[in-house]
Symmetry: C2
Subunit: 206 residues, 2 copies
DNA sequence: AAATTTACATACATCCTTGTATGTATGTCA
DNA sequence: TGACATACATACAAGGATGTATGTAAATTT
């Protein structure tokens, strides 16, 4: 097979991204060659270099493809819980845990992000993109906490920004340890309990 | 200079480990070559291959050199707080945060572990060693939580193992995010607050 | 003091990996 | 129905990185 229609070409591009996600999540970003990716997709490096400038460009594309839907899903949850911000925060966190456990592409993405990617100079643009996503996520959480404080759901001694960072840290840490050994514990159960403990602990007046 | 005494050779070995720690924490494990390490130490690959079988072997040595003193320091803290297990857990956690912020080698180690290392097949033995260390750490924390439950410091609805995993996850997540951007927040301050919130949240009867 | 070992440095062969250049068959458009 | 552009595959050149083999000067042993 050679020349394809535009839809076929887009499908090929997604095929490559799927393959990259799989191979990266197994072999690590730095240890994976473009040939590995192409072979996993049943193609050659010619296809990779046609659709992407290089490995770094491919990684950027990979992250955009995952980050956008994830952000949209979280926005959807935000809109559903506008009346109760703490419930919103809880729902978002639980959704992430559920996705990591049950959705393979999300799991692969988190695995790459947390365990299979060295954030080095070569991937500077990908790193910056990821940091921007993180800051946006923290900003949203901080807004939620700030709103919870003004609504009296949390004491005004709580620092919204710090609380947001810590929540994200807890989530990432839980995902990281679960991905290191998924049969070690139930991520949704243990994570849910930890989430409740942390948020309820924040609510204690100090 | 060529031939050294045995003490000199041991110093050279440590020089190489120091250099590896530095270069790994900057350039990532997978992207760093043995020549990079040797050059950073002012030596050649000949020295590296004399003291270590290969890169994987070097990494194992690196981790053993850091993990042992860290475990000993934590044991020291454990012995000091035998009368109050929850205070012990708090003290251990705060000590880790303090070390990461103020001790460069600890910071480099955590940076490598959390951000600059792809846990792939090539590093299987290092991965296993690290997982064993982690399990031991979780086991200790779980024992502490279990003791706190029997002493009535925590309600018996708390699952010691899950609580331990979550605490370690929180610590690792905090360190990871701080290392990603150290000027974003004060690790000791924010981490301390998060730690208190989580542990106090665990203590709430459910 | 000679022999041997140690602790490296240097040199070499091999194997990727990347980037690019070129080939090629097929859509697409005039 | 050419002519051109597209979507790849294939081929090629260059630079590393690894592992090993060899060289070597000082330390240690005998």
């Amino acid at each position: 097979m050679v020349r394809k229609t535009k839809e076929d070409a887009l499908a090929t591009r997604n095929l490559l991204l799927d393959a990259a996600s799989r191979v990266f999540s197994e072999g690590g970003v730095g240890h994976t060659t473009l040939n590995d990716i192409a072979a996993e997709a049943g193609l050659t490096r010619g296809a990779v270099y046609w659709h992407f400038q290089n490995k770094s460009d491919l990684i950027n594309a990979l992250w955009e493809r995952v980050a956008l839907p994830m952000q949209q899903a979280l926005d959807q949850i935000r809109s559903e819980f506008a009346h109760d911000v703490l419930a919103m925060t809880r729902a978002k966190s639980r959704w992430v845990l559920r996705q990591v456990v049950h959705d393979e592409s999300t799991r692969q993405f988190m695995s790459i992000l947390l365990l299979r990617c060295e954030f080095v100079a070569e991937l500077a643009s990908a790193r910056d993109y990821m940091l921007a996503q993180r800051d946006q996520c923290i900003g949203q959480l901080a807004d939620e906490f700030a709103l919870a404080i003004t609504r009296g759901q949390l004491p005004d001694t709580v620092r919204a920004q710090g609380a947001a960072i810590s929540l994200l840290a807890l989530m990432d840490g839980l995902c990281m340890h679960w991905l290191l050994n998924p049969q070690a514990f139930d991520l949704e159960q243990v994570g849910g309990v930890a989430l409740d403990a942390y948020l309820d602990g924040l609510a204690i007046p100090r």
